[in-house]
């Protein structure tokens, strides 16, 4: 039996396959379709302090090998999440990571504090959402600003803090370094690329919000590159995501330097993606006589590795 287990910033998972924030609801939605407890961990939709209604429709639009979304962080607010959704999520018996999206440092701190003893295994700071006016990406593109908020969150909780970065920057390595120096325990790479589409018959943008976040296989090469660059520069575990649809895709991220991966848009293409990936990883390792998957992390740039 191959050992797929990983530990990211102290969060122990039986395999490295997570779900990407916002694509998997609270897990309950997919529970009838497959055994959600087989996953490595769950990640919540972005949570805000107050309930948030999200953006006007249309909120999604398909693009070649991908999709644009502009959900706009619709969520019931952190308190309602803790009361209603979290208990259901914890029932799956796997770690739950809360994705938090403050508009300001103060909000981020408040979110972290409320979640600290709520039962979640860690926090994923979304400083990279392209679909909201305040906060989101605006906080996440300037290294100093990002560092300041990360530091504040790290100090206000004893939960592991994972910082999710945007690829819509000139220098993602610089951003990752700043966030690492500020005390982040792990990184999630990548959030969506900023994009848009136009309805040429109506002659106006297709999304209610005009611009949206591009995800899916289309962006995979950008995401793999981000993981490759950051993992060589920064000594933090990385959760890789962006267009992962198969075990092969997941391995691309792992070989590039990700310790774990998250499945997002692929659920819409095939709801069984994540379980298939877990099986694929098992069989890839078995076939290549690799006893512990974690030996492959960064193998495409590391020369050494565990024994094969």
């Amino acid at each position: 039996m191959v050992d797929l287990s990983v530990e990211i910033a102290g969060i122990k998972m039986k395999n490295p396959v997570l779900v990407a924030s916002g694509t998997f609801g609270s897990g309950v939605e997919y529970a009838p379709v497959f055994d959600v407890s087989k996953l490595g961990a769950l990640v919540t939709k972005g949570l805000t302090l107050d309930p948030c209604p999200g953006n006007e429709p249309p909120r999604i639009c398909e693009t070649p090998a991908g999709l644009l979304n502009a959900i706009g962080l619709q969520n019931p607010g952190v308190d309602s999440f803790i009361d209603d959704l979290l208990p259901q999520m914890l029932d799956f018996g796997i770690p739950v990571i809360a994705n938090i999206a403050g508009r300001t440092k103060k909000e981020f701190i408040a979110l972290a504090e409320r979640l600290t003893n709520a039962g979640v295994a860690g926090l994923e700071m979304n400083i990279s959402c392209p679909n909201v006016k305040a906060g989101g990406m605006a906080l996440g593109t300037v290294p100093e600003a990002a560092a300041e908020i990360v530091e504040a969150v790290v100090q206000s909780t004893d939960l592991p803090v994972i910082v999710k970065l945007t690829p819509n920057v000139t220098d993602i390595v610089g951003l990752a370094r700043a966030v690492a120096d500020a005390g982040a325990h792990a990184l999630s790479l990548i959030n969506t690329l900023l994009g848009m589409a136009i309805d040429v018959e109506a002659r106006k943008p297709l999304l209610g919000n005009v611009t949206g976040g591009l995800s899916g296989p289309a962006i995979r090469p950008v995401a793999v590159r981000a993981v490759w660059e950051v993992s060589q520069a920064v000594d933090l575990p990385i959760i890789g995501m962006g267009g992962i649809c198969t075990g092969r895709d997941a391995l691309e991220f792992i070989l590039a330097g990700a310790s774990a991966v998250a499945v997002g848009s692929a659920f819409f293409h095939d709801p069984l993606t994540a379980v298939k990936i877990i099986e694929d990883l098992q069989s890839y390792c078995a076939r290549n006589k690799i006893e512990e998957l974690r030996c492959l992390v960064g193998a495409a740039w590391k020369n050494q590795g565990c024994k094969e």
Binding site: T23, G25, P32, F34, A65, F268, H269
Partner: protein, 261 residues
């Protein structure tokens, strides 16, 4: 009612009904046993990542004994065009049954069923289910012209059928909404059920309020997950909350939703 599941189904047969309209029959015994009228599936149309998303299609008809589920669809773009290329023996993947369907618990009422354009798709299974519950049904089918009136003969098995075409090439000349108004003047109904483009649904909502007849309408919205996970398909609920068309819908009581504009 069964929980949604992921299925790989064999195509039994696919027929082109009239240019651009297809009837697809799949071998899907679980669905055929458990799906309710008004529910839908998310169907994978191609083999690759383009198109990437599945397409929502309503359940048109089920034959529980044969284990067969039918879909009636119009080719609109890339996805449906690829689906139309499938033929007997091919496999298609789908997730279903999804969403909340029409309510058909009551017995022996009088109902008017309206299907505008390819919106008639879910009306057939609904009609057959209500018929079993001894409803007396009037089925209104609307389209631009007679070519768009799909399979009227099978609808006739479950009720009286009246047709409206905008060019008058068949039946009443004008919109199917106009026809509904006429019928509501002439007859009394316990309930309206409707599926079709937004303007038609708005009209039905208004008539429902005016006449005080409860109505159920089936909405469309762009969908990604189909199970309530992505929040991509929301519409405005009258309680002020966002409703997920894929999970809280696609069928809503007319007064549950607010249409903009």
């Amino acid at each position: 009612m069964i929980e949604p599941g992921e299925y790989t189904c064999r195509v039994i047969v696919q027929n082109c009904l009239s240019p651009g309209y297809y009837l697809l029959s799949l071998e899907a015994p679980e669905l055929a046993r458990g799906a309710l009228p008004g529910q839908f599936v998310m169907i994978r149309c191609g083999d690759c990542y383009d198109p990437f998303l599945r397409r929502p299609l309503s359940i048109h008809y089920v034959d529980g004994e044969k284990g067969e589920v039918q879909f009636l669809y119009q080719v609109r773009g890339k996805g449906t065009a690829l689906l139309a290329e499938r033929s007997a023996g091919d496999k298609v993947q789908l997730l279903g049954p999804l969403g909340r369907g029409f309510s058909c618990a009551e017995e022996g009422k009088k109902g008017v069923l309206l299907g505008a354009g390819v919106g008639v798709a879910p009306i057939l299974y609904l009609a057959s289910s209500l018929k079993k519950r001894r409803w007396e049904l009037l089925i209104l089918m609307g389209a631009r012209s007679r070519e768009g009136i799909l399979r009227p003969e099978v609808y006739e098995l479950y009720g009286r059928v009246a047709v409206a075409t905008e060019d008058g090439s068949s039946g009443w000349k004008g919109s199917v909404l106009g026809l509904l108004k006429e019928k509501l003047k002439q007859f009394s109904f316990d309930k309206i059920f409707a599926c079709g483009p937004l303007p038609v649904l708005k009209g039905v909502q208004q008539l429902s309020i005016e006449k005080g007849i409860p109505a159920e309408i089936s909405l469309e919205e762009r969908m990604a997950c189909g199970v309530g996970a992505c929040l991509g398909c929301t519409c405005r609920g009258s309680g002020g909350k966002q409703l997920r068309v894929c999970l809280e819908g696609p069928v809503f009581a007319a007064e549950e939703v607010i249409f903009d504009g």
